[in-house]
């Protein structure tokens, strides 16, 4: 059971869940250690990660950047608020497209489940419109279904 699931829960919040066949320690480390982050947090096809910094402690900064075709670039910056090995991370992030999108407050938990780890990311945007804008812009770390939104917009 590894399927990605996204629930829009109203008031600008979305909850993403994904199960991994690895321990909470491993999944946690893959989320905070740059060495691992750069191995999986890719961009779109034709985009390469140019930098990846993650100072995973309260007050520490994260900064991920990608370069795309035609000199385009994309960046995510943020700050860690709570880093609790190996169970919980609270951080704030925003995308730069290049204008900064509204702050996305993320609460990520890692729970041992079914011999692996259940990853839950609760994202909180300032309001429903900001969430929609963020999901439409896409490119959140491994967020699937920005698309339900886009489909909804244009169907």
């Amino acid at each position: 059971m590894t399927a990605l699931k996204i629930d829009l829960v109203g008031d600008g919040a979305a909850i993403v869940t994904r199960h991994f066949a690895a321990s909470p320690e491993q999944v946690f480390r893959a989320h905070v250690e740059a060495e691992y982050i750069r191995q999986w947090m890719g961009g779109m096809e034709g985009w390469d990660m140019t930098h990846c910094e993650s100072d995973a402690r309260a007050g520490g900064v994260l900064r991920y950047g990608w370069a795309g075709p035609d000199g385009m670039s994309f960046e995510i910056t943020g700050e860690y608020e709570v880093v609790k090995p190996y169970s919980e991370i609270r951080h704030v992030e925003r995308m730069h497209v290049p204008e900064a999108t509204p702050d996305n407050r993320c609460h990520t938990t890692f729970e041992a489940k079914e011999g692996g780890t259940l990853l839950t990311v609760r994202m909180q945007l300032p309001d429903e419109e900001s969430l929609k804008a963020m999901l439409d812009t896409g490119m959140e770390q491994g967020m699937e279904d920005s698309y339900g939104r886009i489909d909804g917009l244009f169907s």
Partner: protein
């Protein structure tokens, strides 16, 4: 696509696109639900038009707006690509985890 991202990063412009999903509308129609002047709405429409998300035709003194099928098609293609890349992210993470050395036993 950069322009498209920028065009979509604004809640008012997203709301305008949602309105246009119901069909062609004039600037006046569009301005109704927003606490915004017509010139402000017109500026948003210009951004959407430059991003090829809407088209405007000339109808006498009016310039009604409609969703642009070509622009949306491009966006959908991009979305499909993005969806795949997002799913790939976590699939890649599966592989990273499988290759990760066992964690030291310093678990709190």
């Amino acid at each position: 696509m950069h322009r498209t991202f920028a065009a979509l990063s604004d809640p008012t412009r997203c709301a305008i696109l949602e309105m246009l999903a119901d069909g062609e509308k004039t600037v006046m129609d569009i301005a109704v639900p927003f606490a915004m002047s017509q010139p402000a709405i017109s500026r948003h429409l210009k951004v959407l038009e430059d991003a090829a998300l809407i088209t405007r035709r000339i109808d006498g003194a009016k310039r009604p707006c409609a969703l642009s099928p070509a622009g949306l098609e491009q966006l959908e293609q991009w979305a499909t690509k993005l969806r795949k890349s997002m799913a790939r992210n976590y699939d890649r993470l599966d592989a990273v985890l499988a290759a990760m050395p066992p964690v030291e036993k310093d678990t709190p």
